[in-house]
């Protein structure tokens, strides 16, 4: 029996690509492979900052922080579609930097910042100053609208209180964009790093050892009224943050899935047991093939999400499908990668563990597969 998408196709975006996207994909493929060999990744795990400032500077010099920032603000004037292939290659090589969080912070500013706020911060982000987001709280809810931190009028502007978690690369950040409520309404506030005392930051121990993340205690931090983003566009900004994050995560996860599969295939092609390469056994061959099929599906979703990003309706569906699909594919591939390496797979030295932990981290931030499927149900049915 044959099969048609029927009118489902009306809800869903298609696939295309830009020349710039392909050029960036090619450059990023080589750059990330050269700058982030696995021994370097492991060395940086032991490093306090977690990333190489020289590589960060190269990324800045390549102009990658400004890809989705308009030319008027010092950016390149392309879109998130062109950022995704870079994130994919970073995920593939486990190249950890504040690249994603800076890109998303810029998107938040573009969504709800006024001329002065964008004019000040976007050029600084493009020039390599780190900006990050402080959105999630101890309640652990993925709903970004669930905010308990507050800002109350006081001093020259507002006094903040509450706790934010998973503020990535906060230690190196010049700017933290935090969600708070003012009289019950969610607002986004720009906090300069200079206003945050060192004692307000606690380095968190997170499942993905290649990344750096901090808890931020907002209590007593002062911001001027001019540091609040537009009240009317808070909701739109949170949506933009969620979708931009999900897209970049989906891209990183696709890259990670690819590596987890390649790494395992290499082992199946070299390890012998009972006189045979273990890759000859269908008990291993078929599941790794299933992982590969899942990866290609996830990558198609991710490329469609990149292409349709920002399109009313279609864009959100594509992004949520991409994140849900990438979570499923990465979790399965990395889980099997551990298992198929046998005893070695259980050691900290086996790279399968890096991918497995990375997949868990990504699922934990901005919603896992089930969360995005629940959102999709509302959008589709």
């Amino acid at each position: 029996m044959a099969f048609s998408e029927g009118n489902l196709a009306d809800h869903l975006g298609g696939l295309s690509y830009s020349e710039e996207q392909i050029e960036l994909m090619d450059v990023a493929t080589n750059f990330c492979r050269d700058r982030s060999p696995i021994d370097k990744v492991r060395k940086l795990i032991e490093d306090e900052g977690g990333y190489d400032p020289a590589v960060w500077q190269e990324i800045v010099d390549l102009g990658w922080l400004g890809i989705a920032v308009p030319e008027a603000q010092g950016g390149v004037g392309l879109s998130m579609a062109e950022v995704a292939p870079i994130a994919e290659q970073m995920g593939r090589r486990l190249l950890a930097t504040p690249f994603a969080t800076c890109t998303i912070a810029a998107q938040a500013l573009l969504a709800a910042g006024d001329e002065a706020q964008c004019g000040e911060w976007l050029p600084r982000i493009v020039a390599g100053e780190v900006a990050t987001l402080a959105l999630t709280e101890p309640h652990g809810d993925w709903n970004l609208g669930h905010v308990e931190a507050t800002a109350k009028a006081g001093g020259d502007g507002y006094v903040l209180s509450g706790t934010k978690q998973f503020v990535v690369y906060a230690k190196h950040a010049a700017l933290v964009i935090a969600s708070v409520t003012i009289d019950g309404a969610v607002r986004l506030a720009l906090i300069e790093r200079s206003a945050i005392p060192d004692s307000a930051l606690r380095r968190e121990i997170i499942i993905d050892e290649t990344k750096r993340s901090f808890e931020l205690t907002l209590d007593g931090i002062n911001i001027p009224a001019s540091a609040l983003l537009d009240a009317g566009r808070s909701g739109a900004a949170l949506t933009q943050i969620e979708l931009a994050s999900a897209l970049l995560q989906a891209a990183e996860m696709c890259g990670g899935t690819q590596s987890a599969i390649d790494y395992t295939i290499e082992y199946l092609k070299t390890r012998k047991q009972f006189g045979k390469l273990i890759g000859e056994y269908q008990a291993l061959k078929h599941p790794i093939t299933n992982a590969y099929v899942g990866y290609e599906k996830a990558r198609s979703h991710m490329l469609s999400a990149a292409h349709n990003f920002g399109q009313q309706g279609v864009g959100e569906i594509a992004v949520r499908m991409a994140k849900a699909s990438a979570d499923k594919a990465y979790s399965f591939a990395a889980d099997r990668a551990v298992q198929f390496h046998g005893g070695f797979g259980f050691t900290h030295d086996c790279d399968a563990g890096l991918y497995r932990r990375s997949a868990i981290w990504h699922a934990s931030q901005y919603g896992d597969a089930a969360w995005h499927r629940a959102k999709l149900a509302d959008l589709l049915f």
Binding site: M1, A2, F3, S4, E5, G6, N7, L8, A9, L12, G14, L15, Y17, I22, M25, Q258, I261, I265, L268, K269, K276, L277, G279, E280, Y281, Q282, K285, H286, I288, T289, N290, Y292, V293, E296, K297, A298, S300, H301, L303, S304, M321, A324, S325, A370, R373, A374, L376, A377, L380, F381
Partner: protein, 404 residues
């Protein structure tokens, strides 16, 4: 071939076709029709589908772009594409003579002799001459090149001995495209194969119907016992069989354009499954209010969309750089397994009514979903099982070693 039509000519033609199919597409005949040409079980179904194909042909909407001298309409292929599109729009019954107009016909038009074109094409189009395909054998399924049915030249005739199996329409066909072994010599097993356009109504050819998992019929096993066919049934030369069979498979797999038009398989509409879920109840509430069912349904919609995107991406070189053949080689596996799982899922919507089957007056959609699920195995098994597909992907795309 005629010159390229203008948009106005095509629009006129479409309006004409639209009016014809709106008027003539048969309503529910009062008995079950097969989902594909492979499940024609009863005389009633067969007669009905033959009559429909003949009617479409006589109206000029089948074979419209084949040459007039052989029975076609002599029009540009764009016209036939429009006719097929309109046929689909009105969701008419399938074209029955799939192996004739879909595979044997294009093959004969491609490499057949003038006599062969004159003899066979018109009868395919008007459904007077039904065709079947004799490739698979009981002992040689996936390993087609090892076919063993013997064809021995004896004067003006070939003498056939052996058996073919899974022959759709084999009990109703007048002709068979037949792959047979004329020699055991040669550098390899393929060299001894030859291709015949063989009559089915000859002494020594017998067929036995095989009942399918769904309860339907439609394919047979054919037994050839000293069956004699004229020597001119040989297509090309002795030893050309494998090459011609591969060409035929290109038509079967849809790699080449279906110039004759029409369609041979009903399509499962993904949104039809959502509709079924909407109409179903669980605990006094719509089934789609159940978060677990909703979650699984979204998963299927994502899968459907992934395959749709894969098909777009496989033609985009820069987006398949790392493993260029991957998407093409996984398509069959991913698609057929998805249909199997989706139709299986649809059974669970029906509550107690999931216990009914085709032809019970209380069966949901007259058992369509059960029949579709059971039928889905024909695609996960036929044309290379899913397990063989996984081996192919593992070895040819991922570079894993061959083994058992």
């Amino acid at each position: 071939m005629s010159s390229r039509p203008t948009p106005a000519e095509l629009a006129d033609y479409e309006a004409q076709a639209d009016a014809w199919f709106r008027e003539n597409t048969p309503k529910d005949p009062g008995f079950m029709l097969p989902l594909t040409f492979m499940e024609v079980s009863t005389d009633q179904q067969f007669d009905f589908l033959c009559a429909w194909q003949r009617k479409v042909y006589e109206a000029g909407y089948l074979g419209a772009s084949w040459p007039k001298e052989y029975g076609g309409g002599g029009l540009h292929p764009d016209f036939q594409r429009i006719a097929t599109k309109v046929m689909k729009k009105y969701d008419g019954p399938i074209m029955l003579n799939a192996i004739g107009i879909g595979w044997a016909g294009p093959l004969i038009m491609d490499i057949g002799s003038e006599e062969e074109k004159k003899k066979y094409i018109k009868g395919m189009l008007n459904a007077e001459d039904i065709w079947c395909q004799g490739f698979s054998e009981p002992e040689n399924g996936s390993d087609l090149g090892n076919a063993q049915l013997k064809a021995v030249r004896d004067g003006d005739e070939y003498v056939l001995n052996g058996s073919k199996i899974w022959t759709s329409l084999g009990d109703r066909a007048k002709y068979m495209i037949l792959l047979a072994r004329t020699s055991n010599e040669g550098p390899n097993k393929y060299a001894g194969l030859s291709f015949f356009l063989s009559p089915m109504h000859a002494p020594g050819i017998e067929t036995r119907r095989i009942k399918k998992l769904t309860g339907e019929y439609g394919f047979v096993q054919c037994f050839f016992t000293d069956a004699r066919i004229p020597a001119e049934c040989l297509m090309g030369n002795e030893g050309d069989g494998w090459q011609i069979a591969m060409k035929t498979l290109e038509y079967e797999r849809g790699a080449k354009v279906n110039l004759a038009g029409g369609y041979f398989l009903k399509e499962l509409d993904a949104m039809g499954v959502v509709e079924l879920a909407r109409q179903s109840q669980r605990g006094g509430k719509p089934l789609l209010d159940d978060p677990v069912m909703k979650d699984r349904m979204v998963d299927f919609m994502m899968d459907i969309q992934a395959l749709n995107l894969n098909n777009q991406r496989r033609r985009m070189g820069p987006l398949v750089q790392d493993r260029p053949m991957g998407l093409a080689l996984m398509n069959k596996l991913a698609r057929t397994e998805m249909i199997r799982e989706l139709t299986e899922f649809s059974l669970s919507f029906q509550g107690t009514r999931g216990g009914y089957y085709v032809d019970d007056p209380c069966a949901v959609d007259n058992g369509y979903w059960h029949r579709s699920y059971l039928n889905s195995f024909s695609a996960t098994i036929g044309g290379g099982t899913s397990e063989i597909q996984r081996n192919i992907i593992a070895e040819h795309v991922l570079g894993l070693p061959k083994g058992r």
